[in-house]
């Protein structure tokens, strides 16, 4: 009681010593509510539709700067391998899309909602389909585990992030027949996508623990798909014997060192050792990539 009185007195003294606008209680309350709703929006889960739209917008932004390979045969092949592996995951029905970027830099990128970009430079380093499956499976695991989404969430501008939720409510009403409408280049999700690309979160390394987790899940997914479980280890071996290109987004600069990843992966391998004689499909791979 004494404390309440003291607080009230202090408040009265403060009120007396500040000009009125500084104690705009209504404004403060509104601001608090606003902050509260933003916090709520920031912590809510994305719906699958929102995740897909965000991924589409990020992909469209990246494709605005990085050219898609014109090799239609290769694009279809990578999509078949990728979809087959993704069917082994707990999110088999996402609109999985795999795109080959025409660049020598070695890397691959996963976007929320099931879009995976892989550079021609990475494909050129690989020796068989089980290695491609291993690389794609690692990216698929990132999508399944929503790693990029959580990285975007933690680095996004709070206002941009909150606007996604505010707009989503309106869009749900506008949607017809439950069909998915892509809003590329406009709207709150597009802003969040562009924000993510511009602030670089999309091109920065994820937590090491996320990479190791994606490696482990990747091996499981590729093994379920019937491939030699050592495909991803082969990819890491390739990375281990190459030089980064110093571009800042080369795979050597956005991932833990290959030897560290191999050391982590070794712990999992006894679980899949029995599948080591599954196909690697070298012939089919080399034919499509034009090395046979």
């Amino acid at each position: 009681m004494k404390r309440t009185l003291a607080a009230a007195t202090a408040a009265a003294l403060l009120a007396a010593s500040f000009p009125a606008p500084a104690l705009d209680i209504g404004g403060l309350i509104n601001k608090a509510i606003d902050t509260g709703s933003k916090l709520k929006e920031a912590n809510r889960d994305f719906s699958q539709d929102e995740e897909v739209q965000l991924g589409d917008n990020i992909a469209a932004t990246l494709l605005g700067g990085w050219p898609l390979s014109k090799d239609a045969n290769l694009q279809r092949y990578v999509n078949r391998v990728g979809r087959w592996v993704a069917l082994q995951s707990e999110r088999p029905d996402l609109p999985w899309t795999f795109g080959v970027i025409d660049a020598q830099t070695v890397n691959a990128f996963a976007m929320p909602g099931g879009t995976v970009l892989v550079s021609r430079g990475l494909i050129d380093k690989l020796g068989n389909e089980s290695e491609l499956a291993g690389a794609l499976a690692h990216e698929i695991a990132h999508v399944v585990l929503k790693h990029q989404l959580s990285a975007i969430r933690s680095s996004a501008n709070a206002d941009v992030w909150a606007s996604v939720g505010q707009q989503a409510a309106g869009e749900r009403i506008a949607r017809t027949g439950g069909g998915y409408i892509a809003h590329v280049g406009e709207g709150a999700l597009a802003n969040l996508a562009i924000d993510s690309v511009k602030n670089g979160v999309f091109l920065r390394p994820l937590d090491r623990s996320m990479e190791y987790q994606a490696d482990r899940m990747g091996v499981i997914l590729a093994t379920r798909a019937g491939y030699d479980p050592y495909g991803l280890a082969g990819v890491l071996e390739v990375l281990g014997t190459m030089q980064g290109d110093g571009s800042g987004i080369d795979i050597m600069e956005t991932h833990p060192a290959p030897s560290d990843r191999l050391a982590e992966l070794e712990k999992l391998m006894p679980a899949v050792e029995g599948y080591a004689n599954q196909p690697r499909l070298e012939g089919r791979f080399l034919q499509v990539v034009g090395r046979k």
Partner: protein
């Protein structure tokens, strides 16, 4: 004498390049060089940890290497690789990287200069290309036109004799 000096100079020039060869690896423990990619095959040589090997070919769980003048197979997990990002030290914690300090020998010292030198024909990716890019809805639609449906993926798997397996994920997060 002059010839010897020339040869020595040549050696000094050539050594770092040879050491930086892209097929270089080291054993990360005492291991065996096997005749075939099979633990049951004969042992060609016993290799001590940190033996330098030359990687010849990848063969799933095994890697064909040349070590101490002999050729054979070593388990992939028994190797560590000196991968580096040029001009900076490797972030590897699984062993010191003897070549990291030499990274600057390839290409220039500026990252963009190195990126240019490292790319062959097709250029590399750059952050700047996308930071100011406008979303390309057409390219997105083009990429999505290559999607494979479930039946197509299943047919493709059958053609490759890929049989689905029930494999439990120890972390139970990939479980169907």
């Amino acid at each position: 004498m002059r010839m010897l000096r020339f040869l020595l100079a040549l050696l000094v020039l050539v050594l770092p390049v040879a050491a930086l060869a892209q097929d270089q690896a080291f054993t990360n423990r005492d291991t065996e060089l096997k005749q075939r990619a099979d633990a049951g095959s004969g042992t060609v040589a016993s290799l001590r940890a940190d033996t330098a090997v030359k990687v010849l070919a990848r063969a799933g769980a095994w890697t064909q290497v040349q070590a101490e003048g002999k050729t054979g197979f070593v388990r992939v997990f028994h190797l560590r690789f000196p991968a580096t990002v040029e001009g900076s030290s490797s972030s590897s914690s699984s062993g010191s990287n003897p070549f990291a300090a030499l990274g600057g020998l390839i290409g220039g010292n500026k990252p963009d200069e190195r990126a240019k030198l490292a790319s062959t024909g097709v250029r590399g990716l750059s952050k700047e290309d996308v930071k100011n890019a406008n979303p390309d809805a057409q390219a997105l639609a083009k990429m999505q036109s290559y999607r494979a449906g479930k039946p197509e993926a299943q047919r493709f798997a059958r053609e490759g004799k890929l049989a689905e397996k029930r494999v439990d994920d120890p972390e139970a997060k990939a479980g169907r």
